[in-house]
Symmetry: C2
Subunit: 311 residues, 2 copies
């Protein structure tokens, strides 16, 4: 009987862990898979596709920089073009972060709404909230055929981590998704679509009801904590009530104009390591976990982005 007990215990242990955990080495966590990805699986982000926002130093005098990667074609390019013009005109310098609503968004721009906009901003139509037809340049067909392997079905429809971005699709349209850290364009009631002068980023559970109702123009890839940890506004919708509560924006520049911008890269969503990472996000097998979820929604598979390691 004495021998039997360890055997039973061992069988129970084997039954308890998923197969991969039975190997000598524990299954890697998603972050470990990303850290082990090959250099060629990372895609460089052009400095000209970065928006660098410096806000006032914190209470301890520490500088606060937020790095945003702008959305590529064919998505939201009318607004992205406006943002390039606004940055070139130094429009945001001296404006402020004006709204911090818990579990929702941080919003910034000209609180007075009276500052003159630069000339030549496009008025972008609502249909540009999604890409479609020839403008998609075969993305949807490519997605269906591979090598874009990952198609997720959730309560909102079909989504795809693809070409480095969280996208969703239906009816031959494709659009970016409001995940944590995504950056969008504030607007007034329809048919207004916003110029791009008023921006926000998501700091809570993905507000998917905003998809296709607002333009998404990028995502924060570094420094979101400088926005997400700001005091919440106590006014309606989380707006700061008083001027002194607002956080001053020192400057916003495109990445090839701003100073001290390191090289950034993201993990290709079409790489083997991304596929392994996405699978591990859906089915955690690393030692902490007992029961894999069996799935992950697109916003729980954020595309890894980082400073390019210095060799």
């Amino acid at each position: 009987m004495k021998k039997l007990i360890p055997l039973l215990a061992c069988a129970a242990l084997l039954a308890h862990f998923p197969l991969s955990a039975q190997e000598a080495k524990p299954a890697p966590a998603p972050g470990e898979i990303v850290a082990a990805a090959k250099a060629e699986e990372w895609t460089a982000i052009a400095p000209s596709d970065l928006l660098i926002m410096d806000i006032a130093a914190d209470a301890k005098g520490k500088p606060r920089r937020v790095v945003i990667q702008l959305m590529p074609a064919p998505f939201s390019q009318g607004w992205v073009g406006n943002i390039r013009k606004l940055a070139a005109a130094k429009f945001w310098d001296g404006t402020s972060v004006n709204r911090v609503q818990d579990n929702y968004v941080v919003q910034w721009g000209d609180a007075t709404e009276k500052k003159a906009l630069p000339d030549g901003l496009a008025v972008v139509p609502e249909r540009e909230y999604a890409g479609r037809g020839a403008a998609l340049n075969g993305w949807m067909e490519q997605q269906a055929a591979g090598p874009f392997g990952l198609t997720l079905k959730d309560i909102y429809g079909t989504s795809h981590p693809m070409m480095g971005w969280p996208l969703a699709s239906a009816n031959k349209e494709m659009w970016p998704v409001h995940c944590y850290g995504m950056v969008g364009v504030g607007r007034n009631l329809s048919p207004d679509t916003g110029t791009g002068a008023e921006l926000y980023t998501v700091i809570g559970h993905a507000p998917r009801h905003l998809d296709r109702n607002i333009a998404l123009v990028g995502r924060v890839i570094e420094g979101i904590e400088h926005l997400s940890s700001l005091p919440r506004g106590t006014g309606a919708l989380g707006f700061y009530k008083k001027e002194e509560e607002r956080v001053r924006i020192l400057s916003v520049r495109i990445g090839d104009v701003a100073s001290d911008v390191p090289a950034f890269e993201y993990l290709s969503t079409e790489s083997a390591s991304f596929a392994a990472y996405a699978d591990a996000r859906a089915n955690r097998r690393d030692p902490f976990f007992n029961v894999p979820a069996g799935g992950a929604d697109i916003c729980n598979i954020p595309v890894p982005a980082r400073r390019k390691p210095v060799k």
Copy 2:
């Protein structure tokens, strides 16, 4: 031709808006539906089911109180019982908030891990991460039969806003879901399940991979901004590196012992107003929105909770 243009414009307008928006009054936003709910649709929360945590005042000397509603039977009652004992023993007084990881969790407890725990804490088995069988007391059968109308299918399986809580189910088990603001029990590697002395709350996109892997014991119903807006920790996993970064916990008490606790209530998930609210969360028809999402995941339908209005 002059007459035709307005008619065409009108038809286009009608086609553009969902039916309800064609009525004279615009469709209500989810918050407006909640505000209009009848008094009898709200369920009182017993003060004995609240955990009141007072942390050190902010930089401006403003008191910071976090109000947590504890999970009801049949879920996680072993840990909830421990939490009641820990609060009665004033265990958390003088401990601290030790970890703030962006888009993930805020965690608190005894940073030294050396403080003596009160006697008589239960060691709760892992199977208690979910409820099942007779302990569920017919909840799943009731859910299937109604009046618990709302069953959501998402990438994680089946979920239900039910009896006031976000729950998921599969294989005759039911368990609470890691939505924003939910409170769970920190633990070490399996088979440790935690005592309840180390707690965390979710401050980002719902980390559903934690479901059934950690005990959920409640949710923050007021004051989460005092935790979610704290500076992010710069150590591994968002832990604060230095003692002076930690935020002191002044006291944690059950609601019938703490001072100055107002009456709280939540909107019954079985009420008509909750059904209308959930539908409006999935299909925004209020004037800002053009395209309804057609769905909402369970964490995008947070159960409204508030101070009971004073008549």
